[in-house]
């Protein structure tokens, strides 16, 4: 029996700017069990990064604000806890690594100091103890000669090395949840493979749950247990990894998979999704994917569909299935059309 670690209900994170309200995250639900890896896939403006910052409680305010919903982490609603309580969780029980290893480390402190700090603040370790643990951690993420490396500054390290340092820092206190926001996007292919392998190894070693956020379906195919596909601030499809790649339900997921060239299944012509990704302050009314959808119906334009459960682990937000389902059974999620 797996235990639920994180449950997000109807999360809404909005940004209030001069140009209007940006619904970066617009009613997202998700669940994550202990030891699981959840992949969140989306393109620019899908709200996937804002999702992760919402969980971390790091939404820049103003202009951003969580306007509705719950983030339940181990029976605690993170939206309700005090600032100091949140600080004790961040970097300790939930950690995060970012896309840009080049800018995510403080340039004026040695990497040793930056990792030791975590031990000092969360575990109250002395300098010597923290140093010892830091060296251990750096060894764990595959950095050679850690005794020497702790005295180096971030600009002396390559991008891949910096991302390893970020991982060491994030995993220092053995958190239960690691959020990785596009951790390999800025890296070269061979380095990306190293980092993905490292994260997978460490996950099994430390039994950490991971939320892996990416725009690259290939990155999650091998590592994630479940996948969420986001588009325009909403979850379009939520499914286990196997079925999403084998049998994508949502037209967007289907289009996304079809538009990637595959070496093992060459085609003469890619089937592209027409149109452009909507900009985040101008989402279409109705279903946000409707203008680019090849199955678009009249209803899609007027009204956004709800997320409905198709099978045990498969949920989808599309009128196509709601219509089918309403004939089959009266699911409480769906509405009669």
């Amino acid at each position: 029996m797996t235990k639920e670690l994180l449950e997000i209900k109807n999360l809404k994170t909005y940004f209030f700017t001069d140009e209007g309200t940006v619904r970066a995250v617009d009613g997202v639900d998700l669940e994550l069990n202990k030891g699981e890896t959840l992949g969140i896939v989306g393109e620019s403006g899908s709200g996937k990064s804002m999702m992760s910052l919402s969980i971390m409680g790091l939404i820049p305010n103003p202009p951003g604000k969580i306007v509705d919903g719950q983030i339940n982490f181990k029976d605690k609603n993170l939206c309700k806890i005090s600032k100091s309580e949140y600080r004790r969780i961040r970097g300790n029980e939930i950690s995060m690594i970012f896309q840009e290893p080049m800018t995510s480390l403080n340039p004026v402190f040695t990497i040793g100091k930056q990792i030791m700090e975590v031990y000092k603040h969360h575990q109250g370790l002395s300098k010597a103890e923290a140093k010892e643990k830091t060296i251990e951690m750096l060894k764990l993420v595959g950095i050679s000669m850690p005794e020497r490396r702790i005295h180096e500054y971030p600009n002396q390290l390559s991008g891949g090395m910096r991302q390893r340092v970020m991982i060491a820092m994030a995993l220092a206190c053995n958190p239960e949840l690691l959020i990785a926001d596009e951790p390999t996007t800025a890296l070269d292919v061979t380095i990306q493979a190293q980092i993905l392998k490292l994260m997978d190894d460490l996950k099994h070693k430390l039994n950490t749950s991971i939320i892996l956020i990416t725009h690259n379906l290939g990155v999650v195919a091998q590592t994630a247990d479940k996948i969420i596909v986001m588009y325009a601030g909403k979850v379009m499809e939520y499914s286990d990894t196997k079925s999403i790649f084998k049998n994508p339900k949502h037209p967007y997921t289907e289009g996304l998979l079809d538009s990637i060239p595959k070496i093992d299944k060459p085609v003469d012509r890619l089937s592209a999704i027409p149109g452009t990704v909507p900009s985040s302050n101008d989402f279409p009314t109705g279903c946000s994917f409707y203008p680019r959808c090849k199955y678009a119906m009249e209803i899609c334009k007027e009204k956004g569909p709800d997320l409905i459960k198709l099978e045990d682990d498969v949920q989808v937000r599309c009128w196509k299935y709601i219509e089918e389902k309403t004939f089959v059974s009266k699911d409480h999620h769906s509405e009669k059309v």
Binding site: V189, G218, Q222, L270, S279
Partner: protein, 322 residues
Amino acid sequence: MEKTILEVKNAKKYFPMKKGLLFNSSENVKAVDDISFTIQEGETFGIVGESGCGKSTTGRMILRLIEPTEGEIIYKGENILDLPKDKMQKLRREMQIIFQDPYSSLDPRFTIGKTIGEVLDIHKIAKGKEKRERIIQLLEAVGLGAQHFNRYPHEFSGGQRQRIGIARALALNPSLLICDEPVSALDVSVQAQIVNLMQDLQKEFQLTYLFISHDLSVVHHICDRIAVMYIGKIVETADKKTLFEKPAHPYTRALLSAIPVTDPEVATTNEVLEGDIPSPANPPTGCRFHTRCKFATEICRKVEPELKDIGDGQLVACHLYE
């Protein structure tokens, strides 16, 4: 009958290191270090490699946006490095480039019409009404239209800007198009549109492409022949089928196995390459890949391997094949 359109012979580009006044080192960053390849008319020739391999420098050398330190660039039988200014100017109509970043590749202060029109002005190709018609024709060719003529770049999405960049490159009716990571900065769902557009245009205008990318899947989809580069050197050249089915160089193999496969049921070989990419400012001796190669022997550390034909037009620079 295949006809060679471009031949790059022993091209090198050394950038002088940033120097201090006192320690005036004579060291160079060998961005591109003695590479040769040929491109046939009508084909799509791919250059793949990771950061610092010199693929973008190569593309820019061919257009003389960066002057090569040494070597020859022979376009249709003529070494363009010897050309006087006026002849080079004429030749520029034949070769154009499209860039990676759709945001910095268009002047934010120029309307789309003006951006494309400028190219026509420089070569005095068309004027007035004729010019406008030609621009609209180009916009339509890339899937845009007359309604976009007076708009500014910031009003467009990344994919649309890339279309504009392509229209600008096509304005001079070139034969050879250097495509420097043209889809890397785009959203996945838009990448496919641009790739399709490029394939359509290739047929329509009989274009030859030099396609520079780090993304092997895209290269596999669009290219006929491919060169793999690693820190300033070509390590392998082959046609697509050969390269992907029987890659010879250990680096090529590692690169192929590092591609994330979009199928959870395919077991990955998990052949993960160790170590970092060395800096081109201080490349390893001998074979530049030896620091990361599991087959490396004594000779690899000392002697630089030459590109050799191992059959089927597959060229490999590796001591394993000697």
